[in-house]
Symmetry: C2
């Protein structure tokens, strides 16, 4: 049972559809229009009191709505899980058995995805529920792990660094290219290679560049070329962090 009709709900629905041994018996959503893409494939409802019986109820809605919504569910002693990286399992209502079913990936609306490589972070109060969630996730993905609420919160912060912040550095790279009339496409193979390199090698070992070498001349010349204080501040703080880590302060 999927509760939600947004991006994560759509991708989970698609992922379950591609398995042979699991079935989404119903999709619930407040908004009738948002239910229509699901209606061709399974039972749908916009009435919270019309939920049918299921082995697990997967809440896939906005983080700040999870706790309140779980309190409104007309269910008792069912397995109710959420799909959020940043919300603790215990935010869920006590009236049901609690769990987490968190796919650690950035889903793009409408973009196909190989779900077998999406890591699923599983947590449950009860051993039997943990087993069921592991089984469900293993039907979808080859990368399923038990992760407790505290670990998951930290994973989520780490994800902000390697996803949100990395994307912002790409944006700065694009801005520099645009301002100097060179194509950002020239940097794309380097961006791909930087990501691919750390699949086998620790990023600690693959660090290169003027900051690691503490090459003060190149660093000063780079700073003088940057167009605004914001870029300079980011350049400086990341350079200092790298220099400190690799101990090259002279």
């Amino acid at each position: 049972m999927l509760l939600g009709t947004g991006n994560v709900a759509s991708h989970l629905f698609q992922a379950f559809s591609e398995t042979e041994d699991t079935q989404v018996v119903q999709v619930y959503g407040r908004n009738q229009k948002a239910l229509s893409p699901f209606a061709n494939f399974t039972n749908t409802t916009h009435q919270i009191n019309k939920l049918i019986d299921a082995d697990a109820y997967i809440i896939a809605i906005a983080d700040d709505a999870i706790a309140g919504f779980s309190n409104q569910l007309p269910l008792h002693n069912k397995l109710v899980v959420h799909t959020s990286g940043s919300i603790a399992m215990n935010a869920l209502s006590n009236q049901n058995r609690k769990g987490v079913f968190y796919p650690l990936q950035s889903f793009t609306k409408g973009k196909k995805m190989d779900y077998s490589s999406v890591p699923f972070c599983i947590e449950a109060e009860a051993k039997n529920d943990e087993k069921l969630l592991l089984l469900l996730a293993n039907h979808i993905s080859k990368k399923v792990q038990l992760v407790n609420s505290d670990q998951r919160k930290h994973l989520h912060v780490a994800a902000v660094f390697v996803n949100n912040f990395v994307n912002h550095l790409y944006t700065i790279g694009e801005d520099i290219c645009t301002n100097n009339k060179v194509s950002f496409d020239l940097l794309k193979p380097l961006i791909q290679e930087t990501a691919t390199k750390i699949m086998d090698l620790s990023p600690t070992d693959s660090q290169t560049g003027p900051a690691k070498r503490n090459d003060k001349q190149v660093i000063a010349s780079h700073l003088s070329m940057l167009e605004n204080k914001n870029q300079q501040d980011i350049y400086t703080i990341l350079t200092q962090s790298i220099t400190k880590k690799y101990g090259n302060q002279l």
Copy 2:
């Protein structure tokens, strides 16, 4: 003619070997031992006065040695180019025709690479030399562009952001995982997807996360979870930069 025996020289040698229409007639290196991997395939020398005739002399040595080395070359009116992102073409000695042959990629020693997708940034003083360098690069790669010294310097700074600094954010992600006893492998599909997403979509449009939403509650909770001031400072400055860019300051 390749002048140098390091990482970039090795990769360029390999790249030229894979073409049908170009030939590295000689490799020069000060260090005789470093020449031995090339000696099975072409003429090599460690004596600067034994350089033979070639259409182009490609200097692939450390940035800060390029200018001095180009002055020592016993050549006159030959096409001498360097392969550096950060050194101006005019740093080369006036005794020869100047050019630049800059492959914009992070090469790993010994790691195979598809050179056809490596961007080559070409520059030359003379039109005929520009033509020759374009021809040479086009034999190797499908992504060859004319880029002047000023543009190339800025590209190089942009590369620091999308390669060196991005890799450092990966390192912070890994540190957070290690400290919380979760596998960094869980983040790798997200890292790949973050890089892949911007191949077709501008990074400006693919930005997500609490900073873009200016979600002060999540941001405060993340800051409280980080283990040291360095991580907190980086989190804060990047969050501010994103929030400013997307204009969500309330």
